[in-house]
Symmetry: D4
Subunit: 248 residues, 8 copies
């Protein structure tokens, strides 16, 4: 979508040749910028409520840099997941405010800190080794304008640890539960609350954990009815959906 | 939890020995009725916002009957999933209002029809063979007090079918997307809307669909960020979570 | 091992040509009766502390009958697992005291009711549909001379159900925990007690439970250190090992 | 097949002792050159329409060099896939025209640029990280004499990106669709066109993508009937078959 | 798409308000008939070159009947796969010309027998037990207007059987190769010809064939470059793509 | 291969225009009889040392009958595996000597009882439920002219059972070891003998035996170096290879 | 749980406001110390009979150091598994007595050497490559106060090696059996003894051992009834449970 | 087994207290040397016909050195598989004649070159990348005293390559066939010969080859009856069994 296209649409709207609704519709579904190796979806915020997020894995530093350069003029916040310190150095040259979270490899340019969430998002994780995934979820919820809190190391084999946090569980509007190994925490949390629980299996474990398959299957088979699941280690996805729910 | 327990708590609350909040807390987490083969969780509505649902598979007709008999005095609505016509006949003897949905094997006693949802839930399914799962989701959302609508046979290989329903997609507050085979519909729908999408893989397909594994993996790897997933054929779970979100 | 062999050994022992220990050793490892389709291990009680148990699946009623006929003169108790009503009718003709447990398909001839266990075995199961496996475990512990108790329907999604049974958990010397779906109960129970927990995954569930694989993996990856695991639906194995431990 | 063999056949053909057809048949199926570690199939172009392609993985630089040396006198174009810069340096010493494509690790000696394809091949890929596979497909189609074009970053979660390219889709005679993660793009493209679609799953993704299994299963279960599938990351195979089809 | 829509488009085309190309485009992508449980895509022949095919599995006889009734006025040929004799009886009441192929469960209404294919399609299968899948492929190619031939029982363990058919292989324009067990036939055939080979793994076999997984993996890993693969037992898909290629 | 072909070859051999060896070679690789649904390989005995065996699964009774009818004039012994009583009744009408082995579903026409084996084949199986597979192996070795013996119910959990048969193990020239569940018997037997051991995993077991996968993997990973493996339940294959080895 | 909490509880117990039992209960289930990245469970020894063990994998050296620093004042023995030499150097600065076992990566601070076990634990492993896992089990049993012994390289393919150790097997109160590849040793050992056998599959092997899956499945399907299983390579878990059993 | 034991046996044999056969039996099954980390089976040659082979993977250079040192005085030939150049340097210090095969990582001390095989072993492999596995097989057959030959790069996609070697196939007494990717070569070779074929799947391939699973499954499902299979990449096992067969 070139500037000409946008002008044309707006001209037609002003003249009454196009209703306002129809104009919004047109602007919503077409526009992206083709930079060869990627098509940047500048109007995604309009259509989906949050600007496009850059998934860093499989992209070169040069490609990330190129995309960020084109996004910065359009978006207040830019979020890049699964990337590294080298990409961060390149991004910081473009924007001083960029911040790097090394455990999860996330970069956030957080210029607009408006709160969009209507309540608090709670992020609980079973073990210390799950913290990188929790961090990715936390940064995502922050980037999308939510108050969020986290509870670390509350795995089910010491059930009193999660039970002692019942009041914090009760205050949350959405809960993200992160666990590797047997992935049992979402079922326990799910049974204690009346809000949606988003479960994130992690690749933490060894042997028959099969890099997160055990946890993933456990969560998909949760006997708590309020649990839905995202991909293994997908802290970003959980943070994203939790934010959408919290905005409703 | 016997009647004595409840009396005791209430007496202490009346006397001021127990605050109201503390009383609620106590009543919330303890009570269930042990009938030998099952522990019926009568206070689950209090704790989780919806009464316990009976998962029919693996339970005998006698067991289902026994549980329903104990639930009917406490709950307005009773929902039984994955059951059959024989169980339905037994339940109808206990309550005339019970209704049976044979495609999904669901029984619903729907005495309280209060609307709890704040918006509309849309249920879209890819093919005709996915309808039983869609029905389970639909009955669940109904039982939990939501306006709901469904779109059938809108699979991605004829993309114009789902694109022509954009306005209905845009009106929904939560969307359930049900698909077997390659399970691609949630990604497409997810990209068109700004609300949470709950994806349900179905066991529809053959060969390398591996009874729903292909669809499940497809949905877990969705490139749309607003998609979470439930178990294969779990229409109930999707309906349940969608209802919780719609109540927020 | 024919009668002659046994006589010979005993004669040599009486004459001092063979020490008592050496005699036991000889008698312990050699003897079985070859009936063509099976080799019945009459001295297994001597070697392993409990007579051979007949695994019914894959054996014809005739074969089961043939084995039982040869066992009855040597053993007080005869246990047959994974069999059916037809086999039971054949066995009852041989021994009136035989009893059939239809949910698990177990036959028990329980003539010797001596208590061998030093404490109580507790059998906890997550859902109503897991009861057949629990029954197999219970009959096995009984057959091997243990006081045993069971707790049904104490799955983790209603965590107060198992927490309200803490005192019974604390009294057990060994605990068998049976669960399908996500198989999370052993981790929670394991974290509450200081005795060995034997976890039995069941094939209860659907979709991504993959007939018990989800529960099996969950249990193998339990973050509670006192959990060991047996095969899917193997109530017998769990009851057997629990009995061995309880005899120590 | 030595020179003597060929002479003998030709002499017999000239004398009429062998029909021309029979001569072709003989020459087609026998000849290869045994270099110890490999049997080079010099007549493959005759039999299969394109000279043998060297699959680099698992071959040492010395082996690749040895094979190329023997191919260069017989073939105009030499294609080596899944190799590296070191092999390229060795090959360039043998033939200056060799070109290296580092993203996919492909070497092409492109001396004969005759166009064999009757139409255009379109190569569409879902994300930026799929570009190396697309490059392998593109170089292959080029080496086999086809006009080809590519569309990058047109994944289904922003469906307008592929829909805006309908006219280019409509112009292609064969389409290669490359996608990782959920692998949904071939179903959408397949539903928009009336030509064969060759789907290439890629190992792009993480967690439950299982290195391309999710995408592979998605494509095998495509609800679009015009889709066939090649191995994960097999850009070469897709390019090869697309070229064969385009030559028909 | 109602009649009114079509009239409107045509009127605008006649008046010159819409170019012919734009008219075709409009007619191609929108129209389907919503019958509640299915959306029938009447213009698919226009868009994809062949009318919609009914996949019978998971549809009730009533649903199939309903769809066929609406298709018959629009399509000359109607193809229903994976269905049964009961559905056939219902369809034959609607159209006398319907024919049933019981081995594969295919129904074909073959009113238009125009030849569209430019050459011959050859269908080779490895064993007698693969014939049902071959039949599905054959009926599909017939329905789509192709001369087709089949070779049965030419598996690789008696390599002379396929080698003795070299001349028929050489005459085909596209080849479908169907095999269960180790699925090796496509590699051998692929190496003998210069045309595209579409491989269909079948669920024929036992034990470690895992219902066709062994054959599927074998074909995906074929060392012949001209092989693409469809789903296990998907004779229809292979026939469909072969027909598209043969029409080019 | 018609009679004319054979005559021609023989004539040329008699005249010296073809050496005897060349004649054998010609006769060995070409001939089969095409009966439409199957190509019967009458000269397989010549080429492979044993006539073609009919794999019954997936063939109709009519097809089996048709093949047997054509084989009987050429072969002394006819072996049909994985078939049923109905096929047997049809075969016995063609040849009175046919015998049926119901546990494994094998039919054998055993007219030629020449001994070809140079030693004894021993067939050991772990449990009573493995007997059907053992029977298939035994009938195959018999059909191919071998003295064979079997040992039933010698599984490793009562190691004295197999150790007490050491002398019979030592006498065998080839040993077939059949086991389900953990499939450990081949490793133990392999370590006791100096002859080749052919391991057959069976689908006997439940839960994590996954229909024989556990046994198959166990055998493939055997720490005894003299073990090779055939498909799950493939008693025929084991008997066949054992016979080939025993003939050397 | 701060010192104040403990004082308060004890004060109330002394005053009779709290019974002794109730006091124990309170102290048992609540206390842990939240250090941000972990919740250290200081009273676990009270509740579970052994202090919390640090699982090193996925924890930074700094985190391990932080946890150890807080544990040393409360616990006599500190056990850290799956860690490395760098963490050991940090721990030794905190406590001179720390010892490192490099094959398994275990650190043990062994200040209290009281014997708690009532008998001997025997650790048998199949091959030399299994020794690291055996070491982890051995150090764990030592840390928990047990006399233990080990037998290395007694795999089943040389059955005389384990048979020659019968007397040592007979003396043990619990046996840990460790094996990779086909994992058959537990079945053989299980059949020779009358005590519980804890089987540990290892990732030793290659190809179809699938990093320990073959051994794991073999052990789960053991035909010896006295075998339970822990996760692949989980020497610690086996040592832990063996210690619990040995303390009974 | 100490020297005393051996003396005692021999003395008893000389005195006639023990028959010669009984003496052999005794000597055959007991003896091994316990070096702590390993039990060296010096009498294995007596019992199994070939001395123990050292599997190098998972053993330290020191351990390999220690085992070789003890073997050299007892065995003429010493074979070490899956090891490396470092181990080779240590072994060559012990014995100058040691030779290293770097592609497969095999060490052979070949002092005794007696021929034990009665015929020729042929080793055929499908591609250049399979050569390391072929080398392991070749060295093993050599070490065990067999004339052996190899055919490289005769994969089925150029079927004329293997067909042109028919005469060499016909001369072999046992054939080892090695292939990765789809693993089809054993079926083709199996169908051409009347001797046992030992199939070795290799991990050569990518994507859906799953490190050799595709080839393994293909070979287990071979439609050629004379094929047995060993583990992925197990050239040693194939060479070992082939040697045993060739010695018969």
């Amino acid at each position: 979508m070139t500037e000409e296209n946008i002008k044309d649409i707006l001209t037609r709207v002003r003249k009454g040749a196009l209703s306002v609704d129809a104009g919004v519709e047109k602007l919503k579904h077409l526009p992206f910028e083709d930079v060869g190796f990627a098509r940047i979806d500048h109007h995604r915020a309009l259509r989906q409520g949050f600007p496009e997020v850059i998934f860093g894995r499989g992209k070169t530093v040069r490609q990330i840099e190129g995309i960020v350069k084109r996004m910065l003029p359009h978006q207040h916040n830019v979020l890049i997941t699964r990337t590294n310190a080298e990409a961060f150095r390149a991004v910081r040259k473009l924007e001083r405010k960029a911040k790097f979270y090394p455990e999860s490899g996330t970069i956030l340019v957080h210029r607009d800190k408006t709160v969009h969430g209507k309540g608090k998002i709670l992020i609980a994780c079973a073990g210390t080794a799950d913290i990188p995934v929790a961090e990715e979820a936390l940064v995502t919820t922050e980037a999308m304008g939510n108050p969020a809190e986290s509870l670390y190391d509350v795995g089910v084999a010491g059930i009193h640890r999660i039970l002692s946090e019942r009041s914090r569980l009760a205050e949350a509007r959405v809960i993200i539960v992160i666990a590797g190994m047997e992935g049992a925490l979402p079922s326990v949390v799910g049974g204690l609350v009346s809000v949606p629980v988003i479960a994130v299996p992690t690749s933490v474990g060894y042997g028959a954990s099969f890099n997160g398959i055990a946890a993933l299957l456990g969560m998909l088979n949760s006997c708590a009815s309020n649990v839905t699941v995202v991909n293994i280690d997908n802290g970003f996805g959980a943070g994203y959906v939790a934010s959408l729910i919290n905005r409703l």
